[in-house]
Amino acid sequence: MSITVNQDNRNNTVTISLIGSFDFSLFNDFRAAYTDLDGDFNRYVIDMSSVEYLDSAALGMLLSMRNAIPAEQDIDLKGANAFIKNILMISRFDKRFNII
């Protein structure tokens, strides 16, 4: 499992890419990915296209991120596979995130 953070200052966008299993083991690294940033951004993209599994702890980590970032700034959950998209929809994450 790994996290890569890409800051695009021109478009005010941060992309956080996750690979492998998104679970409790990433608790600190994931938080660091959106807190240790230089500058302000108005869009956050979580690239989940390489995530194979996600547990309920990961859902909690996403909610925690949503709380830490001002509501007017969008968070996109991008590229989740069908299994993960289903988990996100069961918990109605579409109410807090853009699931694309």
């Binding site: 309920s56 702890a57 909690g60 909610l63 925690s64 918990s91 109605r92 807090r96």
Partner: protein, 380 residues
């Protein structure tokens, strides 16, 4: 780091001391077999150098003895040997030596070997330290999980006993997760049901369960409406749990005549297995409990009806995500056909046992990763 140099020749004791001290080692030198054993016990060196021939004894026996004395401690033993034949070298390694240099030795080579051994000693020490810390945490977590289990099991005892109308199955996983199922008949004859699945593992999950239980049983006594109960549980969890924790759940109020209302958030769809064999899904439409503030929270309910012979089945995601030995998940389709098949039985407890057996068989020898909760309800 400490080095014990065992050599009967004063010149080698001097050279070794000089080399080792240059590497920052604390050096002690001895000249005989018996001194060596005493020094090994008192000085407790991290590295030992010795010769094959030693005053008062034999180097091969000494190395055996010292390795024995070091027990579980890793102490590299380096021969600086005046006998340099292959067979002597072979015997040294067989007796427990970690390295071998012939005398007269090259100072440069000795320094390199010494540094390598020092690095190994440091690594092994670090490993022991981490291993000790890990064992400590593992024991602590195991205790916490046992405690959490006990707390949840105690809560569970307040729930209604299994009968022809209600059967609750909880199969706890090796790593404890925090599913909770509560059923209680109110004074007006209606049954109140809560099936929940907390995020996280162990103790944190059971901390959330305590206030939920209290709110639930208060609602049974006070005939609180289902919407109001949903609002209360959400509010309690939202205020006490950290923002990364929540509880997926179903709340159901089933009247004796089979009519029921329900609120579902973050759970896999509950199902009604009709007596005809058809399956109807009861969608869980909301965000889980404990996520939204009271003003955002949507307490609106759905309604449906159980007729005689129909079974309402609520299951946690542990059932859907149950993995067999090949790592393949049980999945929604198999769950659906399982429910269709087992709950055709007119005896609810037998039907539930059948379901459990099929799941157990699917799991095979694999380790169950998540708690499994299955609640089945029928009307009289």
């Amino acid at each position: 780091m400490k080095l014990l140099c065992i050599d009967s020749e004063p010149v080698y004791r001097d050279i070794l001391t000089l080399c080792a001290e240059r590497e920052g080692l604390n050096v002690k030198t001895v000249a005989s077999y018996h001194e060596a054993i005493e020094a090994f016990k008192d000085f407790a060196p991290d590295i030992v150098t010795l010769d094959v021939i030693i005053k008062g004894g034999n180097g091969l026996e000494l190395v055996k003895k010292l390795k024995n004395l070091s027990g579980s401690r890793f102490v590299p033993m380096l021969f600086l040997a005046s006998h340099t034949s292959d067979s002597v070298m072979d015997q040294c390694f067989h007796s427990g030596a970690d390295d071998f240099l012939p005398k007269p030795f090259d100072e440069m080579l000795f320094n390199i070997r010494l540094k390598t051994h020092m690095r190994h000693v440091a690594l092994v020490k670090e490993m022991y330290k981490k291993n000790k810390a890990l064992t400590f945490f593992q024991t602590m977590i195991q205790r916490e999980h046992e405690m959490a289990h006990q707390v949840l099991d105690h809560i569970q005892t307040r729930s209604e006993k299994n009968s022809d109308q209600v059967v609750i199955t909880r199969i706890a996983a090796a790593s404890f997760n925090g599913d909770l199922a509560l059923v209680k008949t109110r004074a007006d004859g209606a049954r109140l049901v809560f099936v929940g699945d907390f995020t996280g593992h162990g103790l944190p999950a059971s901390i959330g369960a305590l206030p939920v239980m209290q709110t639930f049983f208060d609602a049974v006594d006070d005939l609180t409406s289902l919407s109001e109960l949903a609002i209360r549980i959400n509010k309690t969890l939202n205020s006490i749990l950290p923002d990364y924790m929540f509880c997926a759940g179903y709340l159901i109020l089933l009247s004796p005549n089979g009519h029921f209302s329900y609120w579902g958030g973050g759970m896999p769809d509950a199902m009604i297995r009709r007596s005809s064999g058809e399956l109807d899904c009861l969608p869980s439409r909301h965000m889980p409990l404990g996520v939204q503030s009271t003003c955002e929270f949507d307490p609106s309910l759905e309604r449906d009806q159980l007729k005689t012979g129909d079974t309402l089945v609520i299951l946690s995601d542990g059932v859907l995500e149950l993995k067999n030995a090949e790592g393949k998940m049980y999945g929604e389709d198999q769950v659906k056909s399982l429910i269709k098949m087992s709950y055709g039985d007119e005896n609810l407890m037998r039907a539930q046992t059948k379901t459990e057996q099929v799941l157990e068989k699917y799991l095979g020898g694999a380790v169950q990763l998540d708690d499994i909760t299955l609640v089945a309800l029928r009307t009289e």
